[in-house]
Symmetry: C2
Subunit: 232 residues, 2 copies
DNA sequence: GATCGATGCGTATGGGATACGCTTTTCAGC
DNA sequence: GCTGAAAAGCGTATCCCATACGCATCGATC
C-alpha cells in the first residue's frame, strides 16, 4: 500500500485499508515495525538499517518500501508502536498517585527502549499509540476529580520531566560517579570550586544522586498539587 | 594531535598540549567545531558531514581526522562548545529566581540550537563547558544560602525538565493545534473521548498549552521550594 | 481465463564515514 | 645552517546506507 501524503499525519493516521484488488501482502507494516523495534532494543537504533531489517524478515530490501515510506518514517512508527495498547498503570485512589505511576511508566518505557528518547524529543505529531496512552491517563485523572484542562497540563509536565530525566546514563549504576569523574583531577577541582564542593558533599548522600528521577518527580507532583489546590 | 583514549573522558578532558616538534596546524579543533556548529545551526545536524565541513574550511576531508577522532566525537564537542563561557544569567536576589533564570537559559540554548537536544539526551560524560555552567549556577545558589547538595539536586531537576520540554516543536507557534490535529476527525474523538474533551476545553485557555514550559517550570520551582523550606 | 492493481525485489546511483599511506612542513638538536 | 623526527594535510579506496526505477509476479475481480 502506497502512502500518498508525505506528512507525518498521513503516516500515522492515514487510511490503511486495502482495496480488494491486487496481490495480498506477506509482509505487513506491523511485522516490519515490530522487527525493527526488536533490532533497536537489542543492538541500538543505529543498527536498524533497511538491509539488516530485510535480512531478518527474509525479504528483499526494496520490499520494505511498499509498506513504509522510508527510514525516518519507520522510526516514527517504531516509536508510536511502543505505546500500542493501554499503559500498565496500577490502581490508585488519588490523582497524585495516578500521576506518580504515570511518570514511572513513562520513564520505564524510555529505560527499556533508550533509542526512543531521541524520537520522543523530536516527534511532532501525536500518533494513535501515544494518543491512546494520554487518553487513558486523562480518563483516570478525570474519574478522580481532576479538571480536564489541568489534567492535560499535569500530564504534559510530568511527561517533559520524565523524558528529560531519561538520559541513557540514568539507567546504569554508578553513573553519577562517572558523570563527575573529571573531578578526580585536582586541577578540575580548582577550576570548578562549587561543583567540587557540592559533589564531595553529595557523595555522602549518594542515594539522592542515583535516584534523582524519583526525587524530581516528587517535587513536580508537589508543585502540581500546590497549584491545583490553590485553584480549588 | 592524535587522541589516544577512545573514551569520551579523554576526548573532553584529555591533555591537548602540543609537543614542540612537528608542523604547526593551520586547522584547529576549535575552528572545526565552531564551523560545524554554524552548519548545524543554519542547515541542521544532518547536514554536518565531514565533506561539507571540510569544504567550508577549505581543507581536505581527511585532515579533519587529525583534530577530531570521528564524527560522533565531533558532535559531542559541538555540544560542549555551546556552553563555553559562563551562562548569561540576570542578577537575582533569591535562589528561586536564579533557578528560574537558569531554566530559561537552558531551554533558550536548546531553542537556539535544536540539534543539541538529541545530544543532551544522550551525552554521558560532562564536558568542561557544561561543568563551567553548572559550577556557575551552583556558585550563585550557594551565595544565596542554598545548601550545596540541595543546589545540585535542584539544578538537575530543572535541567531535566527543560531538556524534556525542549522539543523542537515547542518553539513554533500553533504547535499544539498541530499536535492534536488528528482530533479533527470525528472518529478520533470517539476513540479518545477524554483527550477530545480535554482539548476542546483547553483550546479556550490556549495560552496554557503554548506556554507549558513556563507553566511547568513554575510548578517545578514550587515543588523545590516546598521541599527546601521543609528542610530548613 | 483475462485483466487490473498491488506486491516483491534486483540493480543502479549517490552519499557518507573512515582506514591507509604518502607528501609536506616545521622545529630541535647538532 | 643541516638533518631527521614528528606532526599536519590529504588523495584514494573501501564499505555501508538509503532509495529511485523498472520489471516480474501474483490474486481477486469481472
Amino acid at each position: 500500500m502506497l502512502l500518498l501524503g508525505q506528512g507525518e499525519y498521513e503516516l500515522l493516521w492515514g487510511d490503511r485499508s486495502r482495496p480488494g484488488r491486487g496481490r495480498p501482502s506477506g509482509l505487513t507494516r506491523e511485522r516490519i515495525v515490530a522487527e525493527a523495534v526488536a533490532i533497536a532494543d537489542a543492538e541500538g537504533l543505529h543498527k536498524v538499517s533497511m538491509k539488516h531489517l530485510a535480512d531478518r524478515l527474509g525479504s528483499g530490501v526494496m520490499s520494505l518500501y511498499r509498506h513504509v515510506p522510508g527510514k525516518d518514517e519507520l522510526v516514527i512508527l517504531m516509536y508510536d508502536s511502543l505505546m500500542d495498547g493501554p499503559p500498565d498503570l496500577p490502581d490508585a485512589d488519588t490523582w497524585r498517585d495516578v500521576l506518580l505511576h504515570w511518570g514511572r511508566t513513562v520513564i520505564g518505557l524510555f529505560r527499556a527502549h533508550p533509542w526512543a528518547i531521541t524520537v520522543g524529543t523530536s516527534a511532532r505529531t501525536m500518533g494513535p499509540g501515544e494518543a491512546g496512552w494520554v487518553d487513558h491517563v486523562l480518563g483516570r485523572l478525570g474519574a478522580l476529580g481532576l479538571p480536564a484542562d489541568l489534567g492535560l497540563m499535569a500530564v504534559l509536565t510530568v511527561d517533559c520531566f520524565a523524558l528529560g530525566a531519561a538520559r541513557p546514563e540514568t539507567g546504569g549504576a554508578g553513573s553519577s560517579a562517572e558523570f563527575f569523574s573529571f573531578l578526580a583531577d585536582p586541577a578540575a577541582g580548582a577550576r570548578f570550586p562549587h561543583l567540587a564542593a557540592v559533589t564531595t558533599a553529595s557523595f555522602a548522600s549518594e542515594q539522592l544522586l542515583e535516584d534523582y528521577f524519583e526525587f524530581g518527580l516528587q517535587r513536580v507532583l508537589d508543585g502540581l498539587e500546590q497549584y491545583i489546590d490553590a485553584r480549588a
